[in-house]
Symmetry: C4
Subunit: 506 residues, 4 copies
Amino acid sequence: MNHTSNDTQAVKLSGEEVGKHNSRESCWVIIHGRAYDVTEFLPEHPGGAKIILKYAGKDASDEYDPIHPPDTLDKFLDKKFHLGEVDMNTVEQETKEEDPEEQERQERIKRMPILEQCYNLMDFEAVARRVMKRTAWAYYSSGADDEITMRENHSAFHKIWFRPRVLVDVEKVDFSTTMLGTKVDIPFYVTATALGKLGNPEGEVILTRGAKKHNVIQMIPTLASCSFDELVDAAEGNQVQWLQLYVNKNRDITKRIVEHAEKRGCKGLFITVDAPQLGRREKDMRSKFSDVGSNVQSTGGHDVDRSQGAARAISSFIDPALSWKDIPWFQSITKMPILLKGVQRVEDVIRAIEAGVQGVVLSNHGGRQLDFARSGIEVLAEVMPVLRERGLEDKIEIYIDGGVRRATDIIKALCLGAKGVGIGRPFLFAMSAYGLPGVDRAMQLLKDEMEMNMRLIGAAKIEDLDPTMVDTRNLSSHTTVVPTDTLSLGAYDALIGPKEKVSAKL
Amino acid sequence: MNHTSNDTQAVKLSGEEVGKHNSRESCWVIIHGRAYDVTEFLPEHPGGAKIILKYAGKDASDEYDPIHPPDTLDKFLDKKFHLGEVDMNTVEQETKEEDPEEQERQERIKRMPILEQCYNLMDFEAVARRVMKRTAWAYYSSGADDEITMRENHSAFHKIWFRPRVLVDVEKVDFSTTMLGTKVDIPFYVTATALGKLGNPEGEVILTRGAKKHNVIQMIPTLASCSFDELVDAAEGNQVQWLQLYVNKNRDITKRIVEHAEKRGCKGLFITVDAPQLGRREKDMRSKFSDVGSNVQSTGGHDVDRSQGAARAISSFIDPALSWKDIPWFQSITKMPILLKGVQRVEDVIRAIEAGVQGVVLSNHGGRQLDFARSGIEVLAEVMPVLRERGLEDKIEIYIDGGVRRATDIIKALCLGAKGVGIGRPFLFAMSAYGLPGVDRAMQLLKDEMEMNMRLIGAAKIEDLDPTMVDTRNLSSHTTVVPTDTLSLGAYDALIGPKEKVSAKL
Amino acid sequence: MNHTSNDTQAVKLSGEEVGKHNSRESCWVIIHGRAYDVTEFLPEHPGGAKIILKYAGKDASDEYDPIHPPDTLDKFLDKKFHLGEVDMNTVEQETKEEDPEEQERQERIKRMPILEQCYNLMDFEAVARRVMKRTAWAYYSSGADDEITMRENHSAFHKIWFRPRVLVDVEKVDFSTTMLGTKVDIPFYVTATALGKLGNPEGEVILTRGAKKHNVIQMIPTLASCSFDELVDAAEGNQVQWLQLYVNKNRDITKRIVEHAEKRGCKGLFITVDAPQLGRREKDMRSKFSDVGSNVQSTGGHDVDRSQGAARAISSFIDPALSWKDIPWFQSITKMPILLKGVQRVEDVIRAIEAGVQGVVLSNHGGRQLDFARSGIEVLAEVMPVLRERGLEDKIEIYIDGGVRRATDIIKALCLGAKGVGIGRPFLFAMSAYGLPGVDRAMQLLKDEMEMNMRLIGAAKIEDLDPTMVDTRNLSSHTTVVPTDTLSLGAYDALIGPKEKVSAKL
Amino acid sequence: MNHTSNDTQAVKLSGEEVGKHNSRESCWVIIHGRAYDVTEFLPEHPGGAKIILKYAGKDASDEYDPIHPPDTLDKFLDKKFHLGEVDMNTVEQETKEEDPEEQERQERIKRMPILEQCYNLMDFEAVARRVMKRTAWAYYSSGADDEITMRENHSAFHKIWFRPRVLVDVEKVDFSTTMLGTKVDIPFYVTATALGKLGNPEGEVILTRGAKKHNVIQMIPTLASCSFDELVDAAEGNQVQWLQLYVNKNRDITKRIVEHAEKRGCKGLFITVDAPQLGRREKDMRSKFSDVGSNVQSTGGHDVDRSQGAARAISSFIDPALSWKDIPWFQSITKMPILLKGVQRVEDVIRAIEAGVQGVVLSNHGGRQLDFARSGIEVLAEVMPVLRERGLEDKIEIYIDGGVRRATDIIKALCLGAKGVGIGRPFLFAMSAYGLPGVDRAMQLLKDEMEMNMRLIGAAKIEDLDPTMVDTRNLSSHTTVVPTDTLSLGAYDALIGPKEKVSAKL
């Protein structure tokens, strides 16, 4: 963290001095060895006052880091409240309460499967679920409302079945392709996901390194735990990165971000259009609640805890007024290709073509925004026939994200006409559980699966994948079955296989 | 309760005196400090004689209150059986038997989650299920036969998926609308539900206050625990209420009720047309049975306990002969808009338009009447295209109720053409678990969800919602899957994720 | 039992004498106080020799009774092997081994719910499952192969949903109808089911009495435990019965049966056409196996236990050569209306009309014959439109059976064009658990449901039921869902409601 | 095993001598009494070095046998590394560690149900799962990726329902047929499956004997544990066998195999076309992993254990370049009928006809190759109408395999136009659990079911089976249901049957 605005003072503050300011009336906190007076900031804190007051007069660095980009305090807290360095030797070490839940987690970490036992992307998730901190897990794994879209995203791929060709020479299989002109090893990119340090203290730079190793593109998130420059700095050689952009209400800030990204070499600008407001994710909210609210008593309506999980805490700057009218302005401030991330119906894809953007990502934000939004793969199957009918299929690059877990999922998307797919959570889980080796193995597994399945479907190269190789007739079916007949089911005596003999001893 | 017919006598009855009349031959009961001779009434009691005999010679007020509107005795028991006041000091206090089930319930109440932990309408139901009295829970939560329609009601919304618009300016979102000319904050109303005091001793006035706070309309139920006037009196300012009407076999009574409602300012008359007889709800019947019947032995057919739950006990007055022929009469006795509640096929919607009524509620009575009746939302999708085809869509206001739990459900109904939706049970559960603050929070959660989801679907106001924003192709599918292949399933060895290492100590 | 062929001898056989013949070489058994030499009969016994040898030299009456019609020995065992009366005082009382399973069953019988706790037909099945003997339960409850058709039979009704009419005058509801000219109270009949004494020692006469009380028709089964005449004798007044017929390879026997039935007043002849061979029912076979085979060791192929459950044991006489060519012969030997029971496709219904029979039962034999045969209700929906198209709908009476459990099921069948429905197992279960009062209550429950649901669908009489009142679009869909994605499901962290507070004491 | 290349030396090697070579630097192993120096071979071993090193300096015969055809060492290890005989008396007997898992398995074997308790093919699988070695079970039972195609294979049959004919004379039922001109008792053949000795030390000769007994054809697998000649030698009389062929990159080897097979009398050549590379089967890989890798620690990416289960270990010779261009060559080297095994779309069936082959097997390799490949039965329903339309249905014999478990499955395939079906795993499981008697009973059960179900569907002979007897309208539907609504489900209080009385004692 770069505290450019605070000179080192002659006499450091003492822990005792800071410790006196431990109330709503006067609230100081220590972040990375420096004290800040946040009393006036309390009501404005997007994450609510409660979480700050928990650390009033104390060192809040551990809690602060994963949620806040390193330059947050310099940007948002008036310099007059920057109180200067603290003599950390005088700060009482918080003797952490014995947290039985945390102890159990540490035990689970000891029993963690070794990396080689992960054979597919779901395995990383299964491990991460057991070894991640509960709040971090809740932030990554949660979706909107009933999480139905989130689960549909992967489930939708299961409605697509293959029509493989046999007796095709597949000795040499090449599944490299290009995305916005960049040659990549395999048709996926690492899509933008927020708050990487929740899962791993190093944050998203791990994904940068993994992407380099496997020659795929990383999309840098606006809400990364690492700063944008840290992530660009972590890239090596001619490694290509894109920028994911939440558009700020203050367009000047947005302009600065875009121009800076272009200057630093980003090769694509992905404007998020499915998040005028960040979603309600109840699993995240519940987890947050119990973190700060366990001693809170219901008081009948007033003074209610307003914390709504990590998502809401970090996103109040996003502009809900963003509209088609803003596109020409973006085109005026950058030469980067512009893509709209989060398009969800064919009408808007056509409008995007008319607006002259270079691509769209058919996405529902990982199921984290509007529940009952359709999966990207389903929208893709709606979009492509219309584009082909109108001769527009080459006017734009179409990507999808959401629910991709297997190379067969990637192949299905490409058969239907996508240029590539974005993958997010699986790499977060791999990173959270195993760090860079986890991300490396996750990507390698996808490559192994890809080679195998290209062969099995009878395609030696990406261009061989075509719509006749998939049967998508049920893709747009959203059925629930008639509710269970519980009484009948309760009375039914299910068939069972042959019974073992009763042991002789008994 | 207003005992207008009984003057206070000089000498009050003693508890001892009342206590002698504790048999089928002579049965007195005390209700709110007054004694009544109900011996002759026993065979006529809609709820059966058993439940009265349980309190013969005793104070029955607690059991009586939630089931009976306060003016019941005055209306239905001949004045000669009103025996006058009892000196309650002489009435032996029933030392309630230790009821282990009730004790467990009291423990659960102590551990009740605080209100802020409820993040959606299902949460109130989950809490209410644990803290309500079993019989009350059974009455509210039960449905007809196998409760398949009851569950289908919410499930049907899951067959509708969104086609959101992106890049729409949704900075300002306004989801207020009008219903029968009344401006409301959000397109739902509190629909009529019976016996509110089962869940909360204050009864439906809590809903009146919640509706006021959030500026939505309350529909007053015929079978409220509170009297009609109590509910109207509880309304404040220009708060709007509607009347739900079960039509009495005695039309004079019905006429009095309607005229009185109009006089007191009700702005809509909703005639229930899906309940010529109130439904068999087995969960309710089972709960009732164990309440009064636990010592009963099977006797082979005669002298059988005939109690059939709360629903049947309170509804014997409803006229099963009500028909289209009666509509003109209603139009002749009131100027209130008339709506038919419980219409279930497009043919009847058209007939309703021809009959000149102002609206219909597409409803199956919360799944409490005919099992395998279709959901209101499904019927809506059948109705609207036909009306539009015939140019009738503006001739009538169409509402639906049943299964609405999320703002996305409301939005789906409005996209399809509904003017608004009725919500019943969720507010009962919120009220039963947390009283008015619960109802308040439940409504606020819907508003929060509504604002979020209007933005996410790309609609700044109610008029922006249209049928292209939903995919309803599977809405009318009612499938069951082929019965489970239990032998194969039993032999299949499911995939599991990586195993943990065995702990070193073991 | 009528031992017409054995005079009472002067000196009765002693138990000791009989007991000597306890081997395959010489095998005597006692049935109802008389001894029989079955040594030569052993290899011919349809149920296998093993089960007889278990009782060699002993009294076998208890085991014998439910499986064998009373006149079996007289009919099938040569008179020379009828050894005469036994002095039962000299027969050693079998001190039954303590059978822990039987003891548990006796305990369950003590805790049996009282009859009034049964609120629907499934409830009887739930009780019967707990209190019936395992082998009897297995015989009644089992179906063919994977029992998929058996379960589909009820499940199919769940694919049909109602389109009720409202505002119909349903004060008076009359659901009586006629079947083959006989007026009945409600459109169901008691269909033929075998071996009633397995469930209740009195056997099918209980069903006769129940049918009388509720004025419905009983179909007398060929394989009843009671003899045909016992069942006809049990009928009272002008009670109507039909005969279900398995056609014997020996047509003379068949002719005698038919002529006798007509003479005794049967009003309909239902020839079973879906059972050229009785089905393999593995649950039944498994149950039978453990009954007689628990000490059997695998011997590699020879001397294998051939018992295949009760069904196979009793049906070897059925003629698999029965064909359309035989129909004129039946028409020549009886004036009873002839109906074909077990028709399963529209082509065969048309052929039946051409053959001049009076009706068909669309049935798959309760799911006990061909697994993956379609349900009767599904076949009905296939048949009626074709008949109507050809003007044949009045040429024949169409019945269905299989899976009927609710009055709504009956109503669905009648809406689609059935004249009535057969109900079998539910009455067996009611009879097995509660005897005649059980059957009585089961029928009464159906009447109660029928009255309620006729009102709720808006039909005052049977003729009001028409095809527009049901939506059957999914009735013929037989889908399985894509196999579960177990890895993803294992990694998914399901949403849960609010957590309780941790109790203060802990 | 025939060690033709090693003369018996005068002085045998001692166990002590061999034992010294127990490291990566010098690695000797003993196989069937002879020592081999495999040091240089370690990096080339398809199954990885680890598994060999586990036995370095020791006797590896038990592990070696089921995976390697008997002539492997002679073929693949240079003669100079054949070290000659070992004096086995001097080889230290491995005192096998107490393996608690193996002990439990031995206990389960003791309690194994007797053969007569197996009533259907699934029963053998249920037993085999309990009594087989874990790694063997994993190899047989595993499928590709999420095993969704593997499970779909059987599940697909459940989407086909029957339309049986009644009143057909089925006294005599003949379900014999011909396959490639060979008369067989029943329309199935034993399809090729690898590594039979994993399940039973005798290997695939057991299947040869079972096939003989029931007069069905056995397809000899390339990857059998027994050698090809052993299997041909085991055939008796005029027993017919076919050859399944994985095509070797070295066509000379392939040519030798084909010519040898023809010379030995094989009557059909089935070229596998769905396996250019053998599939990733994670269950198998996981099982393998824990077998050799339990002490392995994660090392961050390098020196990773590469073992990928038995499938990958044995298949590196298969030629992924095999294509349509190779077909004429096969036709030039053999007069056997040629069939393509693994065709998966109608376009390729037509191409096969054009290529002049005699048949195709519509198959997805038992779900072991490409997950989301469609079932053979589904592809059959796609293929036949097109062939009939073009008059091609008699140009070729069409077989299917995958998921056949019941005679009804066979009947469904034949109704749709298949000449016969292949059955693989069920016989492996029967053989693994019960040896030849198991295979015998499994085949007999299919015959019993076949006779029964031919009767019940109304077909006296194979030719009577036609497409009108099945309803396949849902066969190509691949749906998943909308993800579960867990919150609602959690709050729902399911209906339950009547409760038992509380026991008097309590």
